[in-house]
Amino acid sequence: MSAIAYFLESEGLQTTGISLVRENTEALRPPRFLWTTFPLGRPMGTPGDAPFQRRVILAALDLLNRKSGPVLEDYPEDAPTVEIEDYPACPVSFARPSADVSTWDARLRNELLQMKPWYDLSRHRRGRTTVGVAKAPIDELAPRLAKLVDQGSLEGLDFKPLKYALEDLKAYYREALTAQPGTYDFAEIERTLWDETELGRAMRALDDLFAADPRLAQARRIIASRAARND
């Protein structure tokens, strides 16, 4: 972000914007940024709160009036936090089905069937979905992951389709897990995804396969966050 500001401004465009990691912005010394304490992934602070977002934007736009820089100003408001007892309970029952559960492929297929009604509800409630990066139906994506973890090796790895499949699968699950109206705690959603679902367990198994190959160490970041890996 700072680099983009640097190059745009050096081409004659005036820039301002949001910084989420003050130390990174401070080091690169771009022209103007407003540092906020908001979580990574939420540069406008909070979804669905237009007045809050507007205040943040106006504060960043105000930096355009400064006569010298670099300017790195601290925004005074924190994003609203969620009390743990306030957010809706996870709607999905993860009771094991009676169907075939002998392979990752079977377990993921079964779980997707459990997720589907909640995903559909989310799509109806939100009027949108963020699934669609892989340009393939969701039930064709799980096998890309299952194949690798079932065989216990990365033989035949096709990196880019796998990356897009993981993005869509995670988005599908997160939308299903937050299908009901309400405000959610991201850490709790992630804990459910990684600790309670077959998808989470399969992705951990995939992460182990990547970790065992030094050439793929960097690529682990398409699978699990540092928080999910806890390393």
Partner: protein, 155 residues
């Protein structure tokens, strides 16, 4: 939340490892016209694009075009990093790409007008200097569109 002192040590160390040297002396543009007479473009590094667009690669300095008349619901995200909260984006595109807020500001006359096209990068995995060629090319497109001001959002 992103006060480093509040984060686990592994996360703090990772983020601090991203501190880079400045690319050069800080450039500075001083425009003497008010915001109400300016044309503003939005640029995000959230890896947003349309479903039919090519997704972003693992490390990728290219950009995707977001037409100014888009319906926000059409965008998806193919960012390589998994170390951020995507649930806000699921609920409201404006938490990442505040197009509706800027439309409101333009309708009220606080902002003169909005760009014909906005743009999206995927900010992960590359040194800052690797973005130079594509951003300088993009600057030419923005200037051709009479944009003079850019609002930047990370993810």
């Amino acid at each position: 939340m992103v006060r480093l002192v509040d984060l686990p040590e592994y996360e703090r160390e990772h983020l601090l490892s991203k501190n880079m040297e400045p690319l050069g002396p800080t450039p500075w543009v001083d425009l003497d016209r008010p915001l109400s007479e300016r044309k503003v473009a939005l640029i995000t590094t959230a890896g947003l694009h349309f479903r039919d667009d090519e997704g972003f690669e693992f490390a990728d300095a290219s950009y995707r075009v977001i037409p100014g008349d888009l319906e926000g619901d059409e965008l998806v995200m193919s960012h390589s990093s998994v170390n951020f909260d995507r649930t806000g984006f699921q609920d409201d595109i404006n938490v990442v790409f505040p197009i509706d807020r800027f439309r409101e500001l333009a309708a009220e006359g606080l902002v003169g007008s909005l760009a014909t096209q906005h743009f999206s990068f995927m900010g992960a995995g590359l040194q800052p200097a690797m973005y130079e060629a594509s951003v300088r090319k993009l600057a030419g497109l923005l200037i051709k569109d009479a944009v003079d001001t850019v609002f930047l959002t990370p993810v």
